[in-house]
Amino acid sequence: MAPSYGLLDRTVYGRQEDWEDSPDGWPQRWGSTGGQFQLDGRPTAQWPRLRAGRDDDLGPPPDGGSARTCPLHGEPPAAATP
């Protein structure tokens, strides 16, 4: 349902993820177990919305809020290596 990966798969460096069978020196900044859909600490698709001036305030937290875990949430990707 998300064509970005199908498009990236056609590019020279693919998804740039660390599980791909890539030659030495290929960019592989991204993982596949969380963090690959984030950029600088938030879901990547939020950045153009912020640049467009949209407000990301979600209002006051609801009663009974809890920290449910999301299997796709992981640590953000490590900083790019030179």
Binding site: A2, D24, P27, Q38, L39, R42
Partner: protein, 178 residues
Amino acid sequence: MTEPHVSPIGVAAKPPVADRAAFQAELDRLRTREKAHTREGDAIAAARRLPMVQIDPRTPLTGADGTVPLIDLFAGRSQLIAYFHMWHPGRPAAQQCEGCTFSTSHVTEPAYLHSRDVGYAVLAEGSYEEASRYRDFMGYPVPWYAVPQDSVDRLVAGRHFGILACYLRDGDQVYETY
């Protein structure tokens, strides 16, 4: 606002250079595998013939106009695709689900689904107030609903949010088909 950091690719290794004929020969070899993959995907799609599970058509959901039964989400259509969007209550937008955002942000044009009599809706975990603010922030064009706690088991049925489900409406009855 901090601008996101994107790593430069300029220093990365590059493929060897080949002439057009050699490039085409390599591409043709790859095409053999790609076509096999396409044919297998088509074969799976052509044979995706499952039975269906009856779902309570009155299962309540929370939308912009308050509580509505599941069957209303069809908007008269025979089919509905629902994406079950995870939600982390009380957390800011930056900490909401990156995978659900990845998937949902790609669904921008439902006209082709509608042309096949298929609707699309996002069914979010948690409160409608938070989820609808997130939808507004993201500018999503598809309708959003929240799944009240009492409706979660009826729809998610022991699975977890983050799934996609397909439904069929037959008159006033609703079935899950995928």
